[in-house]
């Protein structure tokens, strides 16, 4: 809980640091803040407690999810570097501050015990993301993306709020416990209010929008592509982790009693998400856009665990989020380095061709990206393999055989587009010169690779914590 308070304060401190002449202190300061938050977070281990008038619950699940979000944020800050080139139009202090605020929002979404808190968390996170999407002010794509994100995001927020109101109308409570006991009683006597069903659906749709599941994914490719890569990385990791933490919590606690009602629709959406994400990704010419569709497809795998709703779903979601975040940060990190140094049609080149021959010019970056792609594709000895493995075994426990078959088939399609970049790096001749990157940047990327491989070889070490 201290982690939430401290992050809010650190965000404000960051804004003040912006008044300093030298901007060099910002990056280390933000890193330090996040590390402090991580330490404070780990101090909550085995401390069961409710805070803020029972609106927030801190337990080990909170610590785990918050830990993943904080580590991901740390890694992303670790690869953030090029805010400062264009002195006039960039405001790194504000970016870092907003980043910290959005992490606060993510933690609120993870720990909420009351639908009001969920809504506040979602908004804190979303508004921050709208702003960050548009930070590349001179770039028309960035502006377009921000506006699109904002318009559609507001729409989804409206639905979410609508759903909260209707659930309140049906149950008379905002609290997870209160809703759960209503649902339990009502479904026992077969007298569930239709209002609850509609409210539940709207609530779910609002959450599905945030995690970019089909058919509410339309914003994802455009926004991911338009946003500055560093914030795309943030969106596809932190937002997704927090979104699924919240989604699973609400589905498995408040609405567990009407599982039969929502499971089927959600299963259909999971299939749709897997199909659209994977198949469209296969057609993209831009690596960045492929990553956007790939993030949709990963939402599909995670939805599988939600649909399964067995006790092991939670640890499966945790493990998957962690492995996915690590690999995604690495992929976007390498993409940043590559597209900044190689231009195409007047802007950073994010096509597959930009990676041609990277293994010759920058073997380390190529290796990092290879491991990341292998992990995303779910190849053994990487974390991604075990992530998929745990999700699939949760689905097996819930007897979701047909869903599982589709998921496995789709992960085969995944290999096609993830390996395209590996082929480009290792088999195509090099174009252009080597890319020079800073030591801190390299260190962060190597760290993600090492963690991915370690989790791939010693999955039980982390799995036992979850």
């Amino acid at each position: 809980m201290l982690s939430i308070i401290s992050l809010s304060i650190f965000g404000i401190v960051n804004l003040f640091l912006g008044f300093l002449k030298s901007r060099r202190i910002l990056l280390p300061a933000t890193l330090l803040f996040l590390i402090v938050a991580l330490i404070l977070n780990s101090m909550d281990w085995n401390q069961q407690a409710l805070y803020f008038g029972d609106m927030l619950r801190v337990n080990n699940v909170f610590v785990n999810f918050a830990g993943i979000v904080l580590i991901t944020a740390l890694l992303i800050v670790g690869i953030s570097r090029h805010f400062g080139n264009d002195e006039e139009h960039t405001h790194p202090a504000e970016y870092y501050a907003i980043l910290l605020f959005s992490v606060t929002g993510a933690l609120m979404m993870i720990g909420f015990e009351n639908l009001i808190m969920l809504f506040v968390g979602v908004e804190v996170l979303s508004v921050a993301m709208y702003v960050l999407t548009g930070t590349d002010k001179r770039n028309i794509r960035s502006n377009e993306a921000a506006l699109k994100y904002f318009l559609m995001g507001s729409f989804a927020t409206g639905l979410l709020l609508f759903g909260v109101a209707m659930v309140y109308g049906a149950t008379g409570s905002f609290k997870l416990g209160g809703i759960a006991s209503y649902v339990q009683m009502a479904s026992m006597y077969g007298a569930v209010s239709p209002l609850l069903y509609v409210g539940l659906l709207f609530l779910f749709i609002g959450m599905l929008f945030k995690v970019s599941a089909a058919p509410f994914h339309f914003w994802t490719p455009d926004v991911y592509e338009g946003a500055p890569t560093i914030f795309t990385a943030f969106m596809s990791t932190v937002v997704k982790t927090a979104g699924f933490a919240a989604f699973y919590k609400i589905a498995s606690t408040a609405f567990a009693g009407v599982y039969g009602f929502w499971a089927q629709s959600l299963a259909v959406m999971a299939v749709l998400t897997l199909l659209i994400g994977n198949i469209t990704a296969a057609y993209q010419g831009s690596f960045k856009r492929m990553m956007a569709y790939s993030s949709i497809s990963h939402a599909g795998y995670l939805l599988l665990a939600v649909v399964a709703k067995v006790p092991s779903s939670q640890s499966a979601i945790l493990f998957y989020s962690l492995s996915y975040s690590l690999a995604t940060v690495a992929a976007f990190g390498v993409l940043m380095a590559v597209s900044e140094s190689r231009q195409f049609e007047g802007r950073g080149d994010d096509r597959y061709e930009a990676f041609n021959g990277l293994a010759k010019t920058n073997p380390l970056l190529a290796f990092v990206l290879t491991v990341s792609m292998l992990s995303l594709a779910g190849i053994p000895l990487t974390a991604g393999f075990w992530g998929k493995f745990f999700i699939f075994s949760a689905a097996v426990q819930a007897n979701l055989t047909s869903l599982l078959v589709i998921a496995v088939l789709m992960s085969c399609v995944g290999i096609y587009y993830y390996f395209r970049v590996i082929i480009a790096m290792y088999l195509k001749p090099a174009e252009g010169e080597g890319i020079s990157v800073s030591a801190g940047f390299t260190l962060t990327l190597v760290l993600t690779t090492v963690l991915t491989l370690l989790l791939g070889v010693f999955p039980d070490v982390v799995k036992n914590i979850f």
């Binding site: 506006l147 699109k148 318009l151 559609m152 729409f155 639905l159 239709p194 069903y197 509609v198 659906l201 749709i205 929008f209 058919p215 509410f216 339309f218 914003w219 490719p221 455009d222 009602f261 929502w262 089927q264 629709s265 259909v268 959406m269 659209i276 198949i279 469209t280 296969a282 057609y283 075990w386 075994s393 399609v413 010693f458 999955p459 039980d460 070490v461 799995k463 036992n464």
Partner: protein, 638 residues
């Protein structure tokens, strides 16, 4: 942390350092790191050994993964058997590393060589230290990989590449058997841990059908790794690798993995007498076949290679009789003298400027005194002359064979006579008589440096005294090794006490058996002396060999047979599948068809992404409407 973890870790670190930095690290440091790593492991093994209390211990490293109730842990088993194997691997391993510093000195791949060698030691240690069949299998596959890499170490020569490939493929066939055996064990016992499989197996009846298949499949694995009929032809070809590799991997350690595995699984085998029976006959056939081929080979390393195959046959013969300790004892003594012989051969090849054909050697004993003396000791040891190491171990096996079947004993003694003959033939042709090489080679002749001769001397001492570790009671010994290894047969004894009743031969028979085998060896040596020293005959050039000798010299045309029966038909079949089934059918309609379908679909999906926000919202609203109607259909339509 337990010290045991460091044992495999040190060679692995050595591999990482030399493997990642072999272009930058100077040669002296490479050799020091590589040898030091293995020597460090050896020191730890020694300390573990001296502090060993006699109770087996499992050192858990970490829980690997859990699937349902099936848990696989990564752990090390420290007991009598694994300790002895570790001593052999790290002890002989360090000597051979040291030797390689001198032997590989001029090679440009010096660093790479040491990296691979360290990696091999790492995997070999995993193989013998693993506390379950899966860790053993990792080691098993790992040593196969290193063997492949090192056989093809001089990969500029395509012949060597083929040899490496052959070794790999043959081992894969065996590995498949091993793997199926592992699956059967999981299916039967629900675990792979030695600590839970063996006690459970001890409850079973002798002759259990499931156990037969388990043990048989495991033995197929052993056939591949330990070069038994029909999977032995890779080992002679494996001599393409640098000589230290032949000594370490293809004589002293890796090829004995199959024997280790069977001794480790002694409970299973004791309860499957049919498998033991099969092993016994396969082993005898291998021993005889390989020994007879060895009679007429002219390549110094090929002779030793066939001799290795044949000696492995003797070890398996011991196992087939249920005399696990005897088989394992021969593993130990063989490791000493065969490593010595290979290293000696390496020293000769080194001195002869890479000449390997014994027809062009001769008279080397004056130029290479240390190599000669040590080689001589090794030759006596392998021929089974008392009191050298080979005598004790081979004789023990022969005694067990006699108890089992005098016919097999007779054949086995015949095999050991051939051994003595071809080994002394090799010795006489190489070190005695006149020099038959070119003038230039003669000019270059020199004794090897100390890094190479020191290991020779140490191994020579071990070859002489190695037999005393297990002197049988009849010769006034106490059978130390037998007593030491006794605890690992605990479950087997419990399950089938009769199998461990011991040799029931009376002393006079035993003395008679020893007398016959020693006399046979001496006769062979005299015959070799007469032919190659007194008559000074030298094997004829390849084209003049004919008749039966030609058949044997060409290794009974087994390679050609395999080629005609397996390789050619499979190639034809694979061409058929490639051009007709794959290209015409699967590719056209399956793979590419699916690809086209996905691409077409993707194109449709892609077009949905118009970029217009209004359209997106429309789609979302449509989606919401569909979901609402679908989910609430019972409410709406009653």
């Amino acid at each position: 942390m337990n010290l045991a973890i460091l044992i495999p870790l040190l060679p692995f670190l050595g591999f990482l350092i030399n493997g990642l930095g072999f272009r930058r690290i100077p040669k002296a440091a490479v050799g020091l790191i590589g040898t030091g790593a293995v020597l460090g492991s050896f020191a730890i093994v020694l300390s573990l050994f001296s502090g060993f209390t006699g109770t087996a211990q499992v050192v858990p490293v970490y829980d690997w993964f859990t699937v349902g109730d099936f848990n696989v842990s990564f752990g090390f088993q420290i007991d009598q058997l694994s300790l002895l194997m570790m001593l052999i691997i790290t002890g002989i391993g360090s000597l051979i590393h040291l030797y390689s510093i001198g032997y590989m000195h001029h090679d440009e791949g010096f660093g790479k060589f040491f990296a691979f060698l360290n990696l091999f030691v790492f995997f070999m240690l995993l193989l013998v230290m693993g506390s379950n069949y899966l860790v053993m299998f990792i080691g098993w596959e790992g040593v196969g990989l290193c063997s492949y890499l090192l056989i093809g170490f001089w990969n500029k020569n395509p012949e060597y590449g083929y040899a490496a490939r052959k070794a790999f493929v043959m081992n894969r066939i065996g590995d498949l058997g091993f793997l199926i055996g592992i699956f059967l064990i999981v299916a039967r016992f629900g675990s792979l841990e030695f600590a839970s499989v063996f006690p459970a197996a001890a409850q079973l009846q002798t002759g259990d059908a499931g156990l037969f298949w388990i043990t048989f499949c495991l033995f197929i694995g052993a056939m591949g790794k330990s070069a038994q009929i029909p999977l032995y032809t890779w080992l002679p070809d494996a001599m393409a690798g640098p000589t230290p590799v032949s000594a370490l991997i293809h004589a002293a350690t890796m090829v004995t993995a199959g024997i280790y595995m069977i001794v480790r699984s002694n409970v299973l085998y004791t309860l499957a007498p049919e498998t033991l029976h099969i092993i016994g006959w396969v082993a005898l056939a291998t021993a005889l076949l390989a020994a007879s081929i060895g009679l007429f080979q002219n390549d110094i390393k090929k002779v030793l290679a066939y001799s290795t195959v044949s000696q492995l046959g003797y070890m398996f013969m011991g196992l087939g009789m249920g005399a696990y300790t005897s088989g394992f004892f021969h593993v130990m003594t063989h490791a000493f003298f065969k490593a010595l012989l290979f290293l000696g051969a390496g020293s000769v090849i080194h001195a002869m400027s890479d000449e390997q054909d014994i027809r062009y050697m001769g008279g080397l004993r004056k130029k290479l005194p240390i190599t000669f003396t040590t080689f001589l000791l090794g030759t006596i040891a392998i021929s089974g002359i008392p009191p050298f190491a080979g005598f004790f171990s081979k004789d023990e096996i022969l005694a067990h064979v006699y108890e089992h079947s005098p016919l097999m004993w007779g054949l086995a003694v015949f095999g050991s006579m051939m051994t003595a003959f071809y080994m002394f033939r090799l010795l006489f042709l190489t070190f005695f008589g006149e020099f038959r090489g070119t003038h230039e080679q003669e000019h270059h002749l020199h004794e090897s440096p100390l890094t190479m001769t020191l290991p020779l001397m140490v191994l020579a001492v071990l070859s002489v005294i190695g037999g005393f570790f297990n002197v049988p009671e009849i010769l006034g010994g106490t059978a130390k090794l037998e007593q030491f290894l006794d605890p690992i047969y605990q479950y087997a004894r419990q399950a089938n006490p009769e199998a461990f009743a011991g040799v029931h031969l009376d002393h006079s028979t035993e003395f008679m058996l020893m007398g016959v085998s020693v006399a046979g060896a001496v006769i062979s040596i005299i015959a070799a002396w007469v032919i190659y020293i007194s008559r000074k005959s030298v094997p004829a050039p390849d084209e003049q060999v004919s008749g039966l000798q030609q058949v044997i010299y060409r290794k009974y045309y087994i390679d050609e047979l395999y080629d005609a029966v397996f390789v050619k038909p499979i190639q034809a079949l694979s061409r058929f599948f490639y051009s007709v089934v794959d290209k015409g059918g699967i590719d056209r309609f399956g793979v590419e068809g699916v690809g086209r379908f996905v691409k077409g679909l993707a194109n449709e999906f892609r077009l949905l992404q118009t970029g217009a926000t209004g359209f997106y919202v429309l789609m979302m609203v449509t989606g919401i409407a569909v979901i609402l109607v679908y989910s609430l259909r019972s409410l709406i339509f009653g």
